[in-house]
Symmetry: C2
Subunit: 329 residues, 2 copies
């Protein structure tokens, strides 16, 4: 069993690769819900939706979110009614929000609603929200405190960021199965997601960090930072707001209490060297995912590192490691 902590579009891309190379039944996903929002009165869970769409084959790969081939007529009509339209919910996409909202209104938990939707869409991997309690990522800016989606989607992450907090986290409990999945997985992967606002909320749920420390399997993170910049999105700005450098060293620092292996891009080979000097296992490979094959290749390489890690503490040798680029001094 492989347990993946994920959120955002980077995470969705990585999971899109993973599903191509291992049976879905062996994947357990723990998904960020800090971005969840009430939109038009419906409960929308952007990261759970993206992962659900990835695993059901419904994701629009062009956009990286929402349903492929979707239309936006309801959105247009909402605009005509004077309702906000900055969060783009497609007509097909709405179905999932409607069903989830109804299930929640009927008293189901987010875990149960997620499980029902996955069953209906034939998703065989297990998708667990990080928590069934409401944890909200709040971004403090000079214009005031914003929800993550306001900051990210509505305002195009243009605001300077003073700080980030996870409202409700201290009272939240991990969703059923989350701690067990982390502790007992053969391997725990931290997807190349924003460490602050995609993985950060998961880590803020009481018990999760400790479970990662206690994990039976190796814990590896794929860096979303390449060459001192985020591959996409505001990870750099948000890491700075948390006092972390925008580099693989910053990623390593964010996960330092539980990280066994950091997987970074070949372009960061020099920075990787420095981290190894500090005693961290680091592997370099091609991490940029443009095509379906890129995604599958990254997943295969990551898994080969992990199998190596299961067998010995030394980096794997052979084709995968060679293809991934030399990471030996």
């Amino acid at each position: 069993m492989i347990c993946v902590l994920t959120g955002g579009t980077g995470g969705a891309k990585f999971v899109d690769g993973l599903r191509q190379v291992i049976p879905p039944e062996e994947i357990m996903l723990i998904v960020n819900t800090g971005d969840d929002l009430l939109w038009w009165g419906l409960y929308v869970s952007p990261d759970i939706d993206s992962i659900t769409y990835v695993l059901s084959g419904l994701l629009s790969r062009e956009r990286g979110w929402g349903v492929k081939g979707d239309t936006f007529l309801c959105l247009q009509a909402m605009g005509q009614l004077g309702e906000p339209t900055w969060f783009h919910t497609g007509d097909r996409d709405l179905a999932v929000h409607l069903l989830r909202s109804r299930l929640l209104a009927e008293g189901k938990t987010l875990s149960e609603a997620t499980s029902t939707i996955c069953d209906k869409l034939g998703v065989k991997a297990r998708i667990l929200p990080m928590s069934d309690s409401r944890v909200e990522t709040r971004v403090d800016t000079p214009s005031g405190e914003l929800s993550f989606e306001e900051y990210f989607v509505q305002r195009w992450y243009q605001d300077p960021v003073n700080s980030v907090r996870f409202a409700g986290a201290s009272d939240a409990e991990p969703a059923p199965g989350v701690i067990e999945a982390i502790v007992s997985a053969d391997t725990v992967l931290i997807a190349p997601s924003n460490p602050i606002t995609s993985i950060g909320p998961i880590l803020a749920v009481p018990g999760v960090r400790d479970a990662l420390v206690r994990a039976r399997g190796q814990v590896a993170a794929i860096s979303p930072i390449v060459g001192n910049a985020a591959v996409a999105g505001p990870a750099g700005i948000l890491m700075a707001a948390k006092g972390l450098p925008c580099s693989i060293a910053g990623v390593a620092k964010a996960y330092e209490d539980f990280l066994d292996l950091l997987i970074c891009d070949t372009r960061d080979a020099r920075a990787a060297e420095a981290l190894r000097g500090n005693g961290l296992r680091v592997q370099c490979t091609q991490t940029i995912m443009r095509t379906a094959e890129d995604k599958a290749e990254l997943a295969r390489t990551v898994l080969s590192f992990m199998i190596g890690g299961l067998l010995s503490d030394k980096p794997v040798s052979g084709e995968s490691a060679a293809r991934a680029g030399s990471d030996q001094p």
Copy 2:
């Protein structure tokens, strides 16, 4: 001010004519809400929607319900999620259900939500739900008791009908403005709607029948029955279930305590004669509405009858009455 009691597709067609011939500011509509349903967790009010779409120019005239040019991708996606799809909500149409549901969830009344939606869509006529309380038309059949939409849309009104009741009616109050509108209007029109399940629920709200009796203006009904059959839908079956003949006499009977004038189709001239013998004022005209011009023409003719009624108790003379067909013995 003209006050119209309406429901169903016949009512919507009549209002579509009326809006062509008098300023919308002079029209006050009291609309059936007995068909309202929770659909996918959203509050849908089919008759209010139809009238709102008519008056905003959004109605699909081909279908007689919903928004013109609408698509049904969310419906399709809901089907893929295993949700029911027999009630056809279009993607644009969903916007109104979403907004209304959110307003109701925020504590607004149905009247307030309706008024907000009308404002947003530029509807200048006043649309009042018959009541802000939940009144549900329940149709008892050999297969059990059905909601009106289950009976009408899901099961294509194929079930024999034992009886019809309006659950919640005895505890309901008329929505704000309903009684005043009826009592003080220059003219009250009962649209050519199903007397049992479109007008019946309105009449079942305590105080409405009495207001019609007390009305300052004349009360006229346009018969939805032509030649012993309903122009459309199950009015005949439902009238029979209430012990009323499926004829203009049955319509007259349904409204006998408050009706000043019955307007029926020229094809019912003979039946009209018989009713006149019983002391009811009856006018005959072309009531079948196929084209926009048919609708406008019926509205013009009805108004000419009413103006005549305001001036004297005798039927109007002149062009309108002549065109409408002789109704003199």
